[in-house]
């Protein structure tokens, strides 16, 4: 299965893209994301799961 990830990433918000790439491409933990982006951990988790849901919805099509 080939995923056109770049086209999919373009559908996310800037913040969603930043967090997704920091976590999955560079392996930052949620703690590290919270401290380096100055965002509460709960917001990080919510943003990441929303971004993942958006990407999954696109892949199903």
């Amino acid at each position: 299965m080939r995923i056109d990830l770049l086209a999919d990433l373009a559908t996310l918000s800037g913040r969603e893209r930043e967090l997704l790439i920091a976590k999955h491409y560079f392996g930052l933990t949620q703690e590290e994301l919270a401290s380096s982006f100055h965002i509460p951990r709960g917001t990080i988790a919510a943003t990441l799961s929303r971004a993942a849901a958006k990407l999954r919805a696109r892949q199903r099509r």
């Binding site: 893209r17 930043e18 560079f26 930052l28």
Partner: protein, 105 residues
């Protein structure tokens, strides 16, 4: 003002070789990741370069994930540059260095 100091590396095959390897490995990844984040390559390589320079001033023991650290630092630089550009556009300021004639009185 900039001061240029020649530094002779006392151990060219030790730490600096390891650093060069990390640079060669991470630089292309950072450029790709930032371009994917921003949606274009404008200012990306400069921001990555600045992040590597900033890393040299950090205590390596404090950076557990160098790639992630560089990404977040470069991202901040890039966002600052984008805000500055947007501000300059909004005010219709000239881009780049001001020419000598526009400074003439």
């Amino acid at each position: 003002m900039h001061y240029y100091i020649d530094v002779v590396d006392p151990e060219p095959h030790g730490e600096s070789a390891a650093w060069s390897r990390r640079y060669a490995e991470l630089q292309p990844r950072l450029v790709r990741a930032l371009a994917a984040t921003a949606g274009n390559y404008v200012g990306v390589e400069d921001a990555v370069q600045d992040a590597f320079a900033a890393a040299l001033y950090e205590d390596p023991a404090q950076i557990s994930n160098l790639g992630g650290w560089l990404y977040t630092v470069a991202l901040r630089t890039l966002r600052r540059a984008q805000r500055r550009d947007a501000f300059a556009r909004a005010l219709r300021l000239p881009r780049g260095p001001v020419s000598a004639s526009s400074n003439a009185r």
